[in-house]
């Protein structure tokens, strides 16, 4: 019946001129803009990447291999990854619903709550650690009942590690998820309701899949931030050692070579994990249909 309307824009490669090259080879305006952006962007990328690459290249293979084989190095990295995973999971379970509430409802004091969620990012890590110790320690308002009733301790345990990690990194999940939910057209949710889907089904089948990429970005950030946290973790938990604590101890005991080797190992493992997580996030929402 009706003719299919062609798609609004063809996919554009960065730097590809929108209207083709004019005759004579002079680049049209979009080219110059991208060039400028890539120029400044590459300065930033270099700033971030070169120190890490220098660190990696400073390693001698025998030294690196020796450190990688040390049992406590592997244990520390595994503990960091495990703690960060638990922290990211808790952030997702509690933070995603919160983000949805913040995105959809208006209530007095909403901007205050949103600002409070960002607050942990501004707190110096040592101070955060002491505050958490106050609350989750032996005589703490949460710590004491949890210890006596459930036997859950936070001092020197993985629970303490997770608590410190979560405190400093949860805001990333909440903020990213909130932005993701705000980008979902509420009318789609309304339509889903009219089709007979209740609030729960609507959230799970419509809202969540559409916000998935943002949520995954936030969770990845939380995960990354959790791995690197030192100041807050070390107030609650020195042993068992997470990777940042171990790197610090290696520096004190041996020196820069061993410490940087352990750090490079941690970075390599983290990089591999982030690539996997990004790949999961990029899986387009339509693929689920196959």
């Amino acid at each position: 019946m009706t003719e299919k309307t062609p798609r609004a824009t063809a996919p554009m490669l960065p730097g590809a001129p929108a209207n083709g090259r004019r005759r004579g080879g002079a680049p049209s305006r979009p080219d110059r803009l991208y060039l400028l952006f890539w120029f400044f962007g590459s300065i930033l990328v270099a700033f971030l990447v070169v120190p890490l690459v220098a660190l990696a290249l400073s390693q001698s293979w025998p030294n690196f291999a020796a450190v990688a084989r040390m049992a406590d190095v592997d244990q520390a990295i595994a503990l960091s990854l495990e703690g960060a995973f638990l922290s990211a999971t808790l952030a997702a379970l509690a933070g995603v619903p919160l983000a949805y509430a913040l995105a959809r409802t208006a209530f007095p004091g909403k901007s205050l709550i949103a600002a409070l969620i960002d607050l942990p990012l501004a707190v110096p890590h040592t101070v955060a650690g002491i505050a958490l110790l106050m609350v989750f320690g032996r005589h703490g308002v949460f710590g004491e009942p949890l210890q006596t009733l459930v036997g859950l301790k936070f001092w020197g345990t993985i629970a303490g590690i997770v608590v410190a990690m979560l405190f400093v990194s949860a805001p990333y999940t909440v903020n990213a998820a909130r932005i993701g939910f705000e980008a979902v057209d509420p009318r789609l949710e309304k339509i889903a309701r009219t089709l007979g889907l209740g609030p729960w089904r609507t959230f799970l089948r419509i809202t969540l899949p559409l916000a998935r990429a943002s949520i995954m970005t936030g969770v990845t950030l939380t995960y990354a931030r959790s791995i690197s946290e030192f100041g807050a973790v070390v107030i609650l938990v020195y042993y068992p050692m997470t990777a940042p604590v171990l790197v610090y101890e290696l520096f004190l005991r041996f020196g820069l070579d061993q410490a940087s080797a352990a750090a490079v190992l941690l970075l390599a493992v983290s990089l591999a994990l982030f690539l996997i997580l990004r790949a999961l996030a990029r899986a387009a929402p339509g693929r689920a249909n196959r």
């Binding site: 320690g137 020195y238 042993y239 101890e249 520096f251 004190l252 020196g255």
Partner: protein, 321 residues
């Protein structure tokens, strides 16, 4: 936007005046004296810095505090620039700074300290514990004791050495083990001062720390016998019997003596030497004692012949060196 010609002259005049003022000002680049010091010296050295800056107004003192070994390694491994290093254990300078290349050529004692345990009203058995029964009370089940890492921090291995000496002193075999059983890995940090907040919050009951810290933080502390608390150089040979097994090797007990040195080739060697003179002299010693440290009169020095001339008069050779 065109400015009225008169405005041009006004602006030009102001700019010339500023340039002239800047050019005429004496090339006074303020000298910055960089000090790396042990964490426990934070309080007395802040007072010392104020004293110094009053005496020598052209110099600003910037001090960084941390574990003695960490501060030494920041110089030897990270090649950070410092003019003066002050440590909680004179052995740290000998061990890390005298090597090849040599970062320091001498050191002098500036204070002494004692190992003790601090506690609060909230601590378990706080009402019972005293200088005679402490080793029995601290070994009771349920008591949480904090200490610093013997592999990285002097107060950590000094605590272990003290307990070894105590075992012999009180003729109580197993004393060290039973007390350390209440100080598991979970209660350990890289410096003892990191555990003060844990003590104040009641997470731990007793903390192995220096007497100077006890006085500075106004905490209750136990008066342990001089024969075991590493405070008196007179007991130096007896202290050797207390041994701590660490990842850096077996360390025999030595008196807790704080030492200072000027880094070889320091950018502000002159200012650093003046600072050392202040610390070693009567004014500096008064500050140290006011902060709860024991003093020397005069200070001991190792390799005094390598010291700057101004300082040699303030020291005597280290006993036994």
């Amino acid at each position: 936007m065109k400015l009225a010609p008169r405005l041009y002259w006004v602006i030009l005049g102001c700019m010339s005046a500023v340039v002239a003022a800047v050019a005429a000002a004496p090339a006074a680049e303020p000298t910055v004296l960089t000090i790396f010091a042990a964490g426990t010296l934070a309080v007395p050295f802040r007072q010392m810095n104020a004293l110094y800056e009053r005496k020598y107004p052209g110099v600003t003192v910037q001090a960084q505090f941390g574990g003695s070994v960490k501060m030494a390694k920041q110089i030897t491994d990270l090649h950070q620039e410092a003019d003066l290093l002050a440590v909680a254990d004179y052995n740290v300078i000998a061990k890390y700074m005298f090597g090849t290349p040599a970062y320091a050529a001498w050191y002098a004692s500036i204070a002494r300290n004692a190992i003790t345990f601090v506690y609060t009203d909230k601590s378990k058995y706080a009402d019972e514990v005293n200088s005679d029964n402490w080793y029995k009370v601290l070994a009771r089940p349920g008591v949480e004791i904090g200490r610093s890492n013997p592999d990285t921090d002097p107060s950590g291995y000094q605590t272990v050495q003290m307990l070894d000496l105590a075992e012999k002193y009180y003729r109580a075999p197993g004393l060290q083990q039973s007390v350390l059983a209440n100080a598991p890995l979970a209660n350990m940090r890289d410096t003892e001062t990191a555990l003060i907040s844990a003590l104040q919050l009641g997470q731990i009951d007793y903390l192995a720390i220096y007497r100077s810290d006890a006085l500075q933080y106004h905490l209750k502390f136990l008066d342990l016998p001089a024969a075991i608390n590493l405070s008196d150089p007179a007991y130096a040979s007896a202290y050797k019997a207390g041994v701590a097994h660490t990842k850096n090797g077996d360390l025999a007990g030595t008196p807790i003596v704080y030492a200072i040195t000027v880094i070889n080739g320091a950018k502000n060697a002159d200012a650093a030497v003046k600072y050392a003179a202040l610390v070693l002299g009567p004014e500096g010693q008064a500050v140290m004692q006011g902060a709860g440290f024991g003093g020397f009169n005069p200070a001991y020095a190792v390799h005094p012949e390598a010291m700057p001339v101004e300082l040699r008069g303030l020291v005597q050779p280290w006993p036994g060196s």
